[in-house]
Amino acid sequence: MSETLEQSFVQQLKENQNIVHKICRLYTNDSDAHNDLFQEITIQLWKAFPKFRGDSKFSTWAYRVALNTAITLYRKSTRSVSTVSYEVQKHFFAHEEYNYEEEEKLKLMYQAVHLLNDIEKALVYMYLEDKDYSEIAETLGISEVNARVKMNRIKGKLIKILNP
């Protein structure tokens, strides 16, 4: 029984691992920390997996556990801010059509997001993933109105960082 549970978990996480990678990317600055956080999230997901019932998609369930782990449980805090990470750089050279101006903008944008605090990053993550505000509010445990207001403030903050 637990064998098949483990198999099913590993299979689903493997297929959905980019969700975890994306969160690691927002919350860490180098590949060591990235892998560290990935491992911690995997452990937390596995711990919570027996309570996961198939009524929602694995990805919907997993991102919440992953965000909670990144914000509240993860303990490696040796994170230097504002350095361009190996992960980010690698990502940028992987583009097929190379638009220099766009690339440059994107790079700055990622850097700006890295300057936000943990909660703001969570909001940005959910915004980028097109989660609606009721879900964002529920995930963080705040009201929907506050989630909207906060997201608008974050947009303002990002503009300020980009145009000092």
Binding site: E6, V10, L13, K14, Q17, N18, H21, K22, F38, Q39, E40, T42, I43, Q44, W46, K47, A48, K51, W61, R64, V65, L67, N68, T69, I71, T72, L73, Y74, R75, K76, S77, E87, H91, A94, E102, K105, L106, L108, M109, Y110, N117, D118, I119, E120, A122, Y127, L128, E138, T139, L140, G141, I142, S143, N146, A147, V149, K150, K155, L158, I159
Partner: protein, 212 residues
């Protein structure tokens, strides 16, 4: 804000270049130990129980009480000991319930609250033990003073001292000793949990700020 739209477009790309983790890697990760905040609070909590219970076992008061012939105090000590066991059991139950209730599937805010509740139980347990030690120390001093023949010299001195200066000095010294002891412990815990929960507290404050 078109930069954010640009970011979203990039974000949504189907094949981002993340180093893919294999099934074998995931299996390996499942058997590794978590290093989460909660895990550390749990470990510290367990160590705490062992240490404090151990201290209790080490100080066998019965022999001491017999040696100074203070048998009439025995009943009070017994009551205190059993009361202590009851309280410790209650704490163990509370600890267990706290950890059982911690789930990564609730909202971020609730999760933070649950973790802090766990820490609060640890703190209460520590405070209880410190209080217990202070009470025992005072009780011990009084008993020693009343029954221990070795202290009769001091007793005589106090009896002969009309202004009570010696008595006050002794009480002052003992109080100072207790206060220093408690402060050292308090600082130790403050540091220990402060380091452990710094980020959690910062993030919790951030969430509260959103609500205002």
């Amino acid at each position: 804000m078109n930069e954010l739209d640009l970011l979203k477009k990039d974000w949504k790309k189907e094949n981002p270049n993340y180093t893919q983790v294999s099934e074998f890697d995931i299996y390996k990760m499942l058997h590794k130990n978590s290093s989460s905040t909660v895990k550390w609070i749990l470990i510290i909590g367990i160590v705490e129980f062992i240490v404090w219970t151990g201290i209790g076992f080490f100080f066998n008061t019965d022999d001491y009480v017999k040696s100074i012939h203070a048998e009439e105090m025995m009943i009070y000590l017994k009551v205190l000991t059993y009361l202590n066991y009851a309280v410790v059991l209650w704490f163990i139950y509370k600890f267990y319930m706290n950890y059982k209730n911690i789930s990564t599937m609730v909202s971020t805010k609730q999760l933070m609250k649950d973790i802090m509740k766990t820490r609060k139980t640890v703190n209460q347990y520590v405070a209880y033990n410190l209080a217990m030690i202070v009470v025992s120390m005072i009780l011990g001093f009084i008993m020693a003073f009343l029954y221990n023949p070795k202290l009769s010299v001091i007793k005589e001195k106090i009896a002969n001292d009309a202004s009570n200066g010696v008595l006050l000095k002794i009480i002052g010294l003992l109080t100072l000793a207790i206060v220093i002891f408690v402060v050292i412990f308090w600082l130790f815990y403050k540091l220990l949990y402060g380091i452990l929960l710094k980020r959690l507290k910062t993030n919790f404050k951030e969430l509260q700020k959103i609500e205002i």
